[in-house]
Amino acid sequence: MVDVERLREIAREVISRDDVRQLIGYRQGTYGFRARPAFITSPEEVDQLIFSPACVNNLATYLTLEEKLPVPRGQEPDLRKVAVMVKGCDSRALVQQMEEKAYERERIVVLGIPCTGVVDMDKVEKRFPDVLSRGEITLEGDKFVLSFDGQREEVPKEELLADKCKRCRYPTPLVYDQLLDEAVERFADDDYSDVLELEKRSAEEKWAYWEEKFSRCIRCYSCRNVCPMCYCEDCVLDRLNPQWMRRSVDISENTAYHIARAYHLAGRCIQCGECQRVCPVEIPLMELNRKFYKDVEELYDYEPGTDAEAPPLLATFKVDDREDFIL
């Protein structure tokens, strides 16, 4: 576990630098066990910062989400760096963004957090409903310890761990300027059992499964907005000419939306699971992303977000790519 005092000390050092404009980290949420993003601009605010298994957000999103206002005439743009705290999965988002030349490596300061897994807030809330006072979650050995209202509960790690952490291949950040703790060993691997299970079904069963899921979609676009890889200024969903998918909420347009969203993440999704976490109607979006993840690994031996120097998957090709499906 990351020592909070050390984290704050390093953060204070970083935000005090002249060339750092902002530090993005985690702070305690307003109620319950939740943590929320903290945007730190001065050394006085550093004491808010925390890190615990409740820090589920992928902060890499905010690097590209920040609105870049036009600079008034006569003023210089603020080119100071942004510091960001990343877990293993979040660091892959940074790598993938840099692979796509979203920004230069010099523009960011990365504080890497070797991560031993975060909780799934839905599982926590199911288990401890109606916790309105501020609670805390810590990891002690192989148990999550939840303390709230003077109570202390111990839960085996497996029961609350987020699904993405159960198949995490890179718990230690792949890119960092400073590591806040000792690197952690990989403690899980991905066997794609969920995707394989679904692939085995017949076409009718698959469609019945997805029709039910897609028909629930209310097209809030949370999954797009939270995604660290969805940072196009001109999104295909907002286009009116051509209008690829209409705004009406019906099974046809919903399916089109989910095809387009998932396809735009083909070879780019880094499995941080944020889309599924924020989905208000619980569509298993990661099962869509993971299908591409699996195919890309099998067909092209490519893993997104692991090598910032590699060319993006669909912007390159090999002469001997598989083509047994071609007539």
């Binding site: 019906d250 399916t255 095809i259 790519d321 499906f325 071609i326 007539l327």
Partner: protein, 146 residues
């Protein structure tokens, strides 16, 4: 599988590259080769021009099958367009299959300008494939009857 209907004539949208497959289809026509008339051809400059969303959109708007056809690898007029198309299409096809769209509906072929006879075979194969899985009844746009 959807119920088989012998009277079912599928609508197939074919995206043909200008330099090879379109010329190949043209050759089949000028050579008076008979092939099933279920194909609606859309000419694009290169198979690399075909956005995977085209496939989705065609299926949404009532196509029962989609065919993308381009030059053989190495023969692309733009040197490498068909290689990119191949990667994109492989992923799209697998993904649509994962959602429950039968793989018979989305096909890709290489047809060169001199392969009028191969064009006929490709079309026969695609049409019989789509016929075997029946009409597309998954995520088309609802058509209003005026």
């Amino acid at each position: 599988m959807a119920e088989k209907n012998n009277d079912f004539e599928p609508n197939i949208v074919a995206f043909l590259c200008n330099w090879c497959s379109y010329a190949g289809a043209d050759l089949a026509g000028t050579s008076r080769i008979q092939y099933p008339p279920n194909v609606r051809v859309i000419r694009v400059m290169c198979s690399g021009r075909v956005n995977p969303l085209f496939v989705m959109n065609a299926l949404q708007q009532g196509a029962d099958g989609v065919l993308i056809s381009g030059c053989h690898p190495g023969d692309c007029h733009y040197m490498q367009g068909n290689y990119y198309a191949r990667r994109r299409f492989a992923l799209m096809r697998n993904f649509l299959e994962y959602l429950g769209v039968e793989p018979e509906r989305v096909r890709m072929s290489w047809v060169s300008a001199s392969e009028g006879a191969k064009w006929k075979e490709v079309i026969e194969e695609v049409v019989s494939g789509v016929k075997s899985v029946g009409p597309m009844n998954k995520f088309q746009r609802r058509q209003l009857n005026w």
